[in-house]
């Protein structure tokens, strides 16, 4: 039998976890999934994206925070617990935790979700982040009209306004240029970027939804190791 080998474009192991509908609470153990450290890796990179917020009658929903950590695999447990925020304005942050035999779920990294039109706040450095490089970036607040590209994050808010505003995200990606309504989208390639939605349409990973929408995007966790 031929041992089929499907190479990835990268030399690393990449595992992604997306927020599940109905998994709205990180306090329920059924909403957690496990990440197992691949054998032989020496470096680990984690990216956490908080969920996007829902718009209200005036403003679009805010976008989630982005938290990244990079460090030695030696400093990371063999098994981590992962919770990615549910879509539609989950109050729970996206989280990577260590399941301690004595202390239960201990949060190592979080990326806050937007719970409405406000921008999700960045995470504060903690005991775990001291073991590597850490950065956390706040989301973008949902405006009352059109969305302009954020200067600090690649996740866009949802559009506001009495008529659904247009969305211009980073790198020229757009949504709803006709000013009626439009779904959001999220991509990893050719460059990572998320575009929020306008009107009553679903948003994308980490991005906000349009006015009166209840479709804020889910959270995500990406863990790469090599």
């Amino acid at each position: 039998m031929i041992p089929f080998y499907l190479p990835t474009p990268q030399g690393c192991n990449i595992q992604t976890f997306y927020g599940l509908a109905g998994a709205a609470s990180s306090t329920e153990s059924r909403n957690w999934r496990a990440w197992n450290k691949p054998v032989g890796v020496s470096h680990i990179y984690m990216m956490l994206i908080g969920g996007g917020g829902d718009g209200d009658a005036t403003n679009g929903g805010g976008s989630g925070a982005v938290t990244v950590w990079y460090g030695a695999a030696q400093h990371v447990p063999d098994v981590l617990q992962v919770y990615a925020s549910a879509p539609s304005g989950s109050a729970s942050a996206t989280e990577v935790a260590y399941l301690s035999s004595t202390a239960g779920f201990v949060a190592l990294l979080t990326a806050n979700s937007s719970t409405g039109t406000g921008a999700a706040a960045a995470m504060t450095a903690n005991y775990f982040t001291a073991s590597g490089f850490f950065q956390s970036t706040a989301g973008q607040a949902g405006p009352a009209g059109n969305v302009s590209p954020s200067a600090t994050t690649f996740l866009s808010a949802g559009a506001g306004g009495s008529t659904a505003g247009t969305i211009t995200a980073n790198y020229g990606y757009t949504a709803n240029l006709t000013g009626t309504s439009g779904s959001g989208y999220f991509q990893l390639q050719p460059i990572i970027v998320g575009v929020g939605s306008a009107g009553p349409r679903p948003s994308a990973v980490g991005c906000g939804s349009g006015i009166s929408g209840t479709f804020g995007g889910p959270g995500m966790v990406l863990i790469a190791s090599w």
Binding site: Q10, Q135, T152
Partner: protein
């Protein structure tokens, strides 16, 4: 059995260096890369007859290879007031600047750039350059690039490197190994990469540099 002659590079990484000031080149992501490291150096400044030229800023960024484009455009500073940048060229022809290392503007140090929507997926640091000196140049405590100064005075870069004895006009230099360091020019001398020219070099300024490493 043949002897397995092997000429390894000292590093296990792919290193691409863009050092021709004023040029625009494409960087192509190597197959199998997991992570990418950028070091950008802005051009140095020229002197003012009173003061040496300032040094350029240094910007470092590390991001996952699988979240960035396969091709990036690298613009290397030709000298003062021209920044070193990495640009994502969209298919519609629009360019989006991802990273910048600001060049010196005359005697002033290059200004540090800010974290942005690109670097938020990874780790970023930008360090400002130093202001040119009217007398002696001492080693900077914040950057490995040195500003320019006056011919009659001593010049000392980091790690004890120096452009030579005082009393004469002298050019600076730039070294990547054994450790990255540069010296500015003194008098009419021109600085090494990213470093300031001497106070009497009113029109010459040193170029920038970009190093992109993948592994």
């Amino acid at each position: 059995m043949s002897y397995p002659i092997n000429y390894p590079t000292p590093q296990g990484a792919n290193i691409q260096i863009f050092k021709e000031g004023g040029t625009t080149s494409d960087w192509v992501k190597p197959q199998g890369a997991s992570f990418v490291w950028f070091t950008l150096i802005g051009g140095g400044g020229s002197g003012s007859n009173v003061q040496g030229g300032g040094s350029g800023s240094v910007t470092n960024c590390m991001v996952p290879a699988f979240l960035i484009p396969n091709v990036l455009q690298v613009n290397v500073s030709s000298g003062e007031s021209v920044n070193t940048t990495v640009v994502y060229q969209q298919k519609d022809g629009t360019g989006y600047t991802l990273l910048t290392a600001n060049a010196s503007t005359g005697v002033l140090g290059g200004v540090a750039s800010s974290d942005n929507y690109f670097s938020c997926m990874g780790f970023f640091q930008s360090v400002a350059g130093n202001v040119g000196s009217s007398t002696t140049v001492t080693a900077s405590t914040t950057t490995f690039l040195s500003p320019g100064g006056a011919a009659a005075n001593n010049q000392t870069s980091n790690y004890g490197y120096t452009s030579g004895p005082s009393g004469v006009d002298r050019d600076g230099f730039f070294s990547m190994s054994p450790i990255i360091v540069a010296s500015g020019g003194m008098g009419t001398g021109i600085g090494g990469i990213g470093s300031g020219s001497g106070e009497n070099n009113l029109s010459g300024s040193s170029p920038g540099l970009a190093v992109i490493i993948t592994w």
